[in-house]
């Protein structure tokens, strides 16, 4: 039985960092110089400062990353002018898989031919000195968006570049993104990332961490998402992170979105406090629909507007936006800028009531909350000498099971489909340790579905294409 504890903090981090930074592409980074640089970076580049001053509306964050410095610079300017509160830096997939040589070669080729051979910004190939220049006149936080199981060097270069928000985590950047990267190693590597964020933080200006709650964005039950988010918040807190955002993706049901947000916020606070991490500030981030998008632009725009309203109703600290071209591929910068404007318009025009509730939402909250507590209790009871080991074992035992994860360590036994109002229901919990009572309630709620007698795979296909 291993509970989250500050005693799990990596010791000897200086020595470990020296090892990581001895990589040829990390050699220009000196921890003291990085701290000095962070002290000179404008305060508005730190998420905590922006969140503290955000006013009634959620902050807006678009997506985007290009291989060339010039293109990324222009994107940054364009998004900033369009009203983005957070500026994304999306990393290419070779860098995500630690294939820095390939990323560098393709960067050179992109530079020579003026064409993009990478699907994002190869941060490690560009290095921190050049990347600092991207943001020399920027007074907004930059968010590192990637999907990297081993992000040790990447996080070092990002922080050295003055990037104060690192997205990801051992579970959320492994299970949806990788089929074979060992989860136990991933857990250990993210301890490093969390620790490095912590040692580069000051009390007022912490390096902020954010988890990626949408996971596979395909019928993941809210209780599974919330358990993963709480675990990653606890793992980060163990390493001394003091500013952490949990997140989730639009579920497809307004009722379930409101219930999920409330339970996620409350239980993250509850578990952080319970294990002595009361000083950790937690935030809530909402992702606009992450599943298959309508190809018709009018429908896409309607979906984007509706999820903007939901982000306001749930009191999200930040909304990560999609574009009307989502179904067509990687959107152009103008389209991304347009999306920021649309969302800003909706947020400004329709300020929500402070709280929205109903008997259905209350029931949903009770059910999700009870399931999360059962899952967390079961994980805490797994034997092991450290919390991360219990988390690793939880996947082997199927206590945590993320639908549609390609990863070999994921059980893939849990079955989920939508009920009559579009909420995601657990049709078969498999080894996920929710109570018999909750499992029965989930199944009963499924009866409201019109095509319930149809085969499960047909129901799932309908559900996946919900918004199309």
């Amino acid at each position: 039985m291993a509970r989250p504890s500050a005693q799990a903090r990596l010791t000897n981090i200086e020595k470990y960092r020296a090892q990581v930074l001895s990589h040829p592409l990390g050699r220009g980074i000196f921890p003291d110089e990085v701290r000095d640089h962070l002290a000179k970076v404008p305060r508005q580049r730190f998420p905590r400062v922006v969140y503290a001053n955000r006013g009634p509306d959620p902050c807006i964050q678009p997506r985007g990353g290009f291989p060339l410095f010039e293109m990324q610079y222009q994107l940054t300017q364009q998004l900033s002018q369009a009203g983005a509160d957070f500026i994304p830096l999306t990393i290419d997939s070779y860098t995500r898989h630690n294939e820095y040589d390939t990323a560098t070669q393709l960067l050179h080729r992109s530079e020579e031919e003026g064409k993009s051979y990478l699907n994002g910004y190869p941060l490690i190939s560009h290095g921190h000195e050049l990347t600092r220049q991207l943001y020399c006149d920027l007074e907004k936080p930059v968010s590192l968006r990637h999907g990297t199981p081993d992000a040790r060097l990447l996080a070092e270069v990002a922080i050295a570049s003055g990037i104060a928000e690192i997205e990801g985590g051992a579970i959320c950047y492994c299970l949806p993104y990788s089929e074979g990267f060992p989860l136990d190693r991933c857990l250990l590597y993210w301890q490093y990332v969390d620790r490095v964020c912590a040692v580069n933080s000051t009390e007022d200006l912490p390096i902020h961490r954010e988890s990626f709650g949408p996971l596979t964005a395909t019928l993941v039950p809210p209780s599974v998402v919330i358990a993963v988010e709480i675990i990653e918040a606890l793992l980060a807190a163990e390493q001394g992170v003091t500013s952490f955002a949990v997140s989730f993706g639009q579920t497809g049901s307004i009722i379930q979105d409101i219930a999920t947000a409330t339970v996620l916020r409350e239980l993250t606070r509850y578990y952080l406090d319970q294990f002595g991490f009361g000083s950790v500030q937690s935030y809530l981030v909402y992702h606009q629909w992450m599943g298959q998008f309508p190809a018709q632009r009018e429908r896409a725009a309607a979906l984007i507007a509706c999820s903007a309203i939901i982000s306001s109703i749930i009191g999200a600290d930040k909304i990560v936006v999609k574009t009307v071209d989502e179904a067509l591929g990687v959107p152009r910068p103008e389209i991304n800028a347009e999306a920021c404007d649309t969302v800003r318009y909706v947020l400004r025009t329709f300020r929500s009531a402070e709280t929205v509730t109903s008997p259905m939402i209350e029931r949903e909250m009770a059910l999700i909350g009870s399931e999360v507590k059962s899952i967390m209790d079961a994980i805490f009871d797994i034997s092991g000498s450290a919390f991360w080991e219990s988390v690793f074992r939880a996947f082997q035992l199927g206590y945590l099971d993320v639908p549609f994860s390609p990863h070999a360590d994921n059980a893939n036994k849990l079955l989920s489909v939508r009920d009559g109002n579009g909420s995601i229901r657990i049709a078969d919990a498999a080894a996920v340790p929710i109570s018999d009572h909750d499992a029965r309630v989930e199944r009963e709620l499924l009866e409201s579905r019109e095509d319930r007698s149809d085969k499960t795979y047909r129901q799932m296909l309908t559900d996946i294409r919900l918004m199309v």
């Binding site: 089929e179 596979t216 395909t218 639908p403 549609f404 994860s405 390609p406 070999a408 893939n412 079955l415 085969k455 499960t456 795979y457 047909r458 799932m460 296909l461 996946i464």
Partner: protein, 151 residues
């Protein structure tokens, strides 16, 4: 789910293709139709399919491709199976199996030349393939062995 076992099917996505959603749905659809499924999941080479077919004594192999790599990897499929004495195993392929827009008939002809028994290029309804598989398996192994020699 029915408990009747209609046959043993190896499924998987070929090439450096990590599209997992269709693969999971396929597994569930086959299981719900009574098949025993051996799922190789994503990113497979041809040898992984025939090795698995040999290991589990498969009746059929269902190859899928979403990113269009299918054409590149599937060319020698039937001969590879025949070489290890598995010429009788039913070979199905489906998904988005070639790169670019090409007529369905042309794609079907191409993959039949590769030795596939059934080809489902951009076929949205899985149940078509399942009905075909049930039908094809009724004919028995001996007949299929004879049919395989025709290719």
């Amino acid at each position: 789910m029915t408990s009747v076992c209609h046959g043993r099917v190896v499924i998987g996505v070929i090439g450096d293709d990590i599209h997992i959603v269709g693969n999971r749905i396929m597994q569930l659809a086959l299981e719900e139709s009574g098949f025993q499924v051996f799922n190789l999941r994503t990113r497979n080479r041809p040898e992984e399919f025939y090795q698995a077919a040999l290991e589990v004594n498969a009746d059929a192999v269902f190859v899928s491709s979403l990113n269009g790599e299918g054409e590149h990897w599937c060319a020698d499929f039937r001969s590879l199976f025949r070489e290890i004495g598995l010429g009788h195993v039913l070979l199905y392929v489906g998904g988005n199996i070639v790169v670019g827009k090409r007529p369905k008939e042309e794609v079907a002809r191409l993959f039949k030349q590769f030795g596939f028994d059934r080809v489902y290029h951009q076929e949205p309804d899985i149940s078509v393939a399942i009905a075909d598989l049930q039908e094809d398996l009724k004919h028995g192994a001996a007949q299929r062995a004879g049919k395989a020699h025709e290719h």
